[in-house]
Each structure stands twice: as C-alpha cells, then as structure tokens.
C-alpha cells in the first residue's frame, strides 16, 4: 500500500515537471488564485520540494529546513548539496535537461545569467504580500544585485564583502591607533608599517590571482565599470584609471609582494606570522583567524572598513540569494517554495544560520541582537555593507572579472620599483585600453540581443 502511494506520488511529480512552456510561465501572481481554486483537499497531500544549496551551506541548512518541515506537515524538503566548483555547470545542465529544483541558492553574480535564460520566477508579486521579507530592511547594495531588468528574481540569503583584516599591533607600532579612512592616508600608514617590517615581510597582501581586491578599490570610485546599460566596457574611465594606478603603485613601492594566494600555505597563518600586516578578505576569515591563531595573538588582529579615495570606501556586494525556479510544478509547489524562502529569511533563521556557518545576514534586523551585535570583528562588516555597491548585472560579469584578473596580473608584472610615474601612467592606459577591447568583444552578443529587443 505504502509503496503504491509512494509510486503514485512520484509519478505525479514527474508528470508535473513535464509541463508545457505556457504553464511554466505562470507567474507567482497566479499563486493566490491557485490556492483558492485547489482548496483544502490538495493542501495536505504529501509533497517533496527539491532544494539545491552549495558547499557548507548545503550541509548546515538541514536544521533550518527541518523546522520548516515541522511547520508544514506533509511537506518534505530534499536538500541536495552541490560543490561550488561544479555548481554553475550543474545549474545550466539542469536547465537544459529541465531538472532544475524548486528552490536553490545562487551566487548573486549568476542571477542575471539565469534570468537571461528565463529560468527564474519573478518574486515581486509574492514580495508585495509578504509579511516576512521586507526589502527596505536589506542592505541596499545587496538588494540591488537581486533586481534584474526591473524584476526581483532573488532574495538575498547571506552577504559577502571584502574588507581589511589587519595586525593591530603592527599598525600601532608604526604609530597608528586606527586604520586611516582615505587611500592617501592608508598608503602613508602602509609605508610606515613597511619601514619597520623585516626581510620578506610586507605591509599588505594583494594576491595577484584574485580580482576582488582591485574590484573593491574600483567600486569606491564613482563611474560605473560598464557603460550604456552594460553594452560596453568602461575601464578607460578616469575612475578606473585612478583605482588601477593606486593598486599598481602599492606594488611599485614594494608595499605588496608580487605573489598569488596559492604560493602561501594559508593567509591566516601568514597574517599571524607578520608576513603582511593587512589583507583584503571576506567574512569567513574571522572564523579561520579565531581557529588558527594562538590565544595570545587573538587580540592582535582586527577588521576595518575599506578606505576610499575620499573617506570610507565602497565594497563588493557579494553573497548568495535564494531563488525560485520556473519548474512548471504548479501553484502549490511554487507557493511552498516561496514559504521556504520566507522561512530562511526570518531574522531568527538568519542569526542561527550565522552561528552555523559564519555567513553574514543581509537584513539589518538580523544584526540587531545576538552574537552579531556583540562581535567586534563583524561590526566593521556592517558598516562596510551599508556602502556595498553592486557590480554591473550582466550575464558575462564573471568572465569580465576573469579578464580583469588576467590584465591586472600582467600589469603587476610590468611594474618595477624603478618605474616612473609617466611609465606607470602608460602601463595603466595600455591595460585599460586592452581590457576595454576584450570586454567589448565579450559583450558583442549582448549588444545584438538588446538591439533586437528594442527593435521589437
């Protein structure tokens, strides 16, 4: 008997997934209607939601999902864990094979790509009625990454930005009680730290195989990185030029070593050893530093918001969002999927999630009490997150960032201590021109798509 019921349920699930495109495009707006029409008889029928989550989050979300299951008898949530390294391929393959789950975690730089595929359910209608998710409570830069072409397609789940981790003792010994807030004064402090550093010790670590450090600097400058609605690269702007010049100058003055992250065993131990006094890193480093550095050194490190060209700087608006896929699974499925997203978005759930994973919550309400409010190391993140600035939302963004990384790495290798200001300006000009050329090429298809859309 039980087996038969089980098989029946499975068959219905499969049939529902084979829905026509017309059915698929039913928006959340139809949800309320659907709920009324289907009535109570369907409401307690057992149903299994599928959710995909990446890496550590996929493990730790189980506890929060169990709460949801208790609150919704008859509903089971099957969480599948994807490794980050394979997640992007798997998502696109699942899209082609029509096996996307109901709910998923997505890196917020992937939203515009999946939106371009038409895989994401717009959430605005559900959002309007929601008692739980309040857009105004979210950090604005983070929320903005979830709005693609005017539609909200994701709800931020946790945030990720980069800021300064530094050795308070080394900075104090160099005569600074606090991290300066402007680029100019920060560089002065780096020079002071470097003067006291031993051989093979540096003021700051900017791994040449990562783009996040340079991007963080570039976002603090006013002009956008792409122009004309994400049609062309804008790396030849004066803004980006200033950021790149500042970045390269740190290498020219030998304040930063020309090294990649893979050349170190790990950055946390090296910060403890004083190989460098500053690094630009993400929230997970808090946990790593607490775990790895000896107790005697725990007071020696701290975090600080990024300095900017004129006062506190902006940050990357990174992190993951929760999305609802257009699986054509019917109104009830979509409604329950949305309720699962709501459940994971309550301040209580976000605080618990922070305890479980160390991931920072995107809502201000979640920061107001508990461990987050009391933790001095995360306080800097809160102020940095208020200034987080969204990168251009184009599907090609990840590829563009890879080009940025390669170009800047080449430029770093061209800079010598003997490089004059004029030569540095030339390196910057050449790098930016080449970068724009490559980015324009990457965006060629997008321009054609946009032109065609407008013509219609």
């Amino acid at each position: 008997m039980k087996l038969a019921a089980d098989l029946g349920r499975r068959w219905r699930g499969a049939a529902a997934r084979r829905a026509s495109p017309a059915q698929r495009s039913l928006g959340l707006a139809a949800l309320a209607l659907g709920a009324l029409a289907l009535g109570a008889c369907e409401a307690d029928e057992p149903l299994t939601l599928r959710m995909w989550a990446m890496g550590r989050e996929g493990e730790e979300v189980a506890e929060l999902v169990a709460q949801f299951e208790r609150a919704h008898p008859g509903v089971r949530v099957r969480v599948q864990q994807l490794p980050w390294s394979a997640a992007h391929e798997k998502l696109l393959t699942a899209f082609v094979g029509e096996t996307l789950p109901d709910v998923a975690q997505l890196g917020n730089t992937w939203l515009s790509e999946l939106e371009a595929l038409g895989a994401l359910e717009p959430l605005d209608a559900a959002l309007e009625r929601s008692q739980v998710v309040d857009a105004r409570d979210y950090f604005p830069g983070i929320w903005a990454t979830n709005v693609v072409g005017g539609a909200t397609v994701g709800i931020p789940w946790y945030v990720d930005t980069r800021l300064l981790f530094y050795r308070r003792d080394l900075l104090a010994a160099a005569g600074y009680a606090e991290v300066p807030t402007t680029w100019e004064t920060w560089r002065e402090s780096l020079v002071a730290v470097a003067r006291r550093a031993g051989p093979a010790q540096f003021a700051v670590f900017l791994p040449v195989n990562e783009f996040e450090q340079l991007l963080t600097l570039a976002l603090s400058e006013p002009e956008p990185l792409l122009r004309d609605g994400g049609r062309w690269g804008n790396f030849r702007s004066a803004s980006f030029g200033r950021a790149l010049t500042y970045y390269l100058d740190l290498f020219r003055r030998q304040l930063a070593p020309v090294a990649s992250e893979t050349q170190l065993a790990n950055v946390w131990d090296e910060l403890g050893r004083g190989t460098f006094a500053f690094m630009i890193h993400g929230p997970w480093s808090i946990g790593e530093l607490r775990r790895r550095l000896p107790a005697a050194q725990q007071g020696a490190w701290a975090t600080a918001p990024m300095p900017g060209p004129r006062g506190p700087g902006a940050g990357i608006a990174g992190g993951s969002s929760l999305v609802l896929f257009r699986t054509g699974g019917g109104a009830r499925r979509a409604r329950l999927g949305w309720q699962l997203i709501e459940h994971l978005s309550t301040p209580a759930a976000q605080r618990r999630f922070f305890q479980l994973t160390g991931n920072l919550p995107p809502r201000r309400a979640s920061w107001n009490d508990g461990a987050l409010a009391a933790d001095p190391a995360v306080a800097a993140f809160r102020s940095q997150l208020e200034r987080a600035r969204q990168a251009p939302a184009v599907p090609q963004w990840e590829r563009i960032m890879q080009e940025l990384r390669l170009s800047s790495e080449r430029a770093v290798h061209q800079v010598r201590p003997s490089t004059t200001d004029a030569e540095l300006a030339q390196i910057v000009a050449d790098t930016c021109a080449e970068l724009d050329e490559r980015v324009d090429e990457l965006l060629r298809k997008r321009r054609w798509m946009l032109a065609r859309q407008e013509a219609r």
């Binding site: 391929e89 696109l92 371009a116 595929l117 038409g118 195989n209 990649s260 893979t262």
Partner: protein
Amino acid sequence: MSRSRAPYLLVGPALTALTVFFVLPVVAAFVLSFTDFDIYGVADLGNVRFVGLSNYSRLLQEPLFGKALANTALFVFVGAPLSLAASLGAALLLHARVARWQAVFRTALFAPVVTTVVAVAVIWRYVLHTRYGFLNYALGVLGIEPVDWLGDPRWAMPAIILFAVWKNFGTNMVILLAGLQAIPEDQYEAARLDGAGALAQFRHITLPALAPTLLMVTLMTMVGYFQLFAEPYVMTRGGPVQSTTSILYFMFEEGFKWWNLGFASAVAFVLFAILAAGAALQLALARRWSQP
C-alpha cells in the same frame, strides 16, 4: 530473408549506435562551430546566428589558445618520449632473464593504469605539496630547496608530466613486453655467437623487431597525450597563470564554464585537425624509416 539483406541487418544495430552517438554529434558540432551558440542560444535557438569562419579566425587571434597550444605541445613532446622511455626501460628490465618475481613487478608497475585519475591525482597533490609533500621532503634530504610544484607557473607543467608518466607508462610497458616476448630467442643466440654485446643486440635485433609495436605505441601515446585534460582539471584547474591550460581544458572552459558552445566546437575541430596532421606525419615518417 534474402541473402543480400542479412549483412545489413547484422551490422545494423552497431551502425545505428555509431550514427546516433558518434556521427550525428560530430556533424552537429561541426555545424555548431560556424555559429555563435552561447548562453543566449541555450535560452532560445532564435538567438543563434551563423557567423561563418569567425570562430576560427577569433581562435587564431586568442592569446590563450596559443598558450594552450604551447602547453599541450610541451606536454606531448616532453611527456610522451619520457613515458615511452619509461615503458621500454621497464619492459626490458622485466624481460631480462635475470629478473625474478616478474609477475609481481608487472602487476605493481601496471597498477597505476587501472586506478582512477581523480583519486590518484588527489594523492599526488599531497605528494607534491610544497610544505608537507613527500617529494619536497625527499629533495630536502638531498639538500635541494623545496619547490612549489603546483603553485609556481614554471614547475606546474613538469609536475603534471611527472604524474602523467607515472600514471600511463604501464599500458605501453605491457604491450612492449608482449612484443619483446615475441622475438625468437635464437636470433639473440646467433648474435651472441657472432660476438654481439648487449648494446649491439638491442640495436640490431630488439629495436628492429620491436619497430612496428613501437610505432603503434608512439602514435597512441601522442594522440592520448594531446588530449590532456583530467590531470590539470583535478590538480591545478589550468593554473597557475594558465601554465597548465591544455587545448582540451581551454575547450572545456569555453564550452562548459562560459557556455560558448559554438566557439568551443571550433576548438575541437582545430584539435582534430592538429591530431590528424600529426598522425599523418608520423605514419609518413615511419614508412620512410621502414623502407631502406
């Protein structure tokens, strides 16, 4: 059933499978290589345009493709001879009359071949670890400074070559061993009576008798090594600074990371052309060599 139809019926299933799973995809990929099929094309086929040869011309201007080509060439022209030398050496040792425990050694030397690349690559990553790896420990005993095998752009490819040679030499060793065992013992006896030393015997009897086997093995090894992918995928992800990005890895990234399937198909056909040209050249050389 008529007699003339029978053979078609018999080969039918195999031909159908070959057509569906091989011929059609190849033809589709060839057509794809003249389009700009990308992520937008995945969404809607109406977003795909025919672009003629522009994928191919872009490919030739792409600096990373040149780099991938150079990396692959380094892997093939250093790795394949090394691998062949190791196979031949091991086969000769195993074949030597003084060798004992032949079956044990043969199994031990062949073992790496039957292990999965991914599992073994993970273990090799430990062996190659800069600080805690066995290799650097062994070098340290000899007084050699530790090498950042997988992190230094100059050493990553040599490390991959080392791994691939260790992983693959067993197959060729077994084939060459079979070739050695097929050489009649009386030829060696005659040579010894004529006063030929070990080296002369190797040069004038073993090598000529082994030539056809060696040629086949060389061809297969070269073709196989051109398709370098799993090792960098697991061990270095094509890095550092793209020093281990092979043609196939480049194609994989273009196709399945960035979903430029049209462009990636063009890479596949360029790789195919290179392999075909290489094989033809090798066969021509072999023909000249075997006709005095």
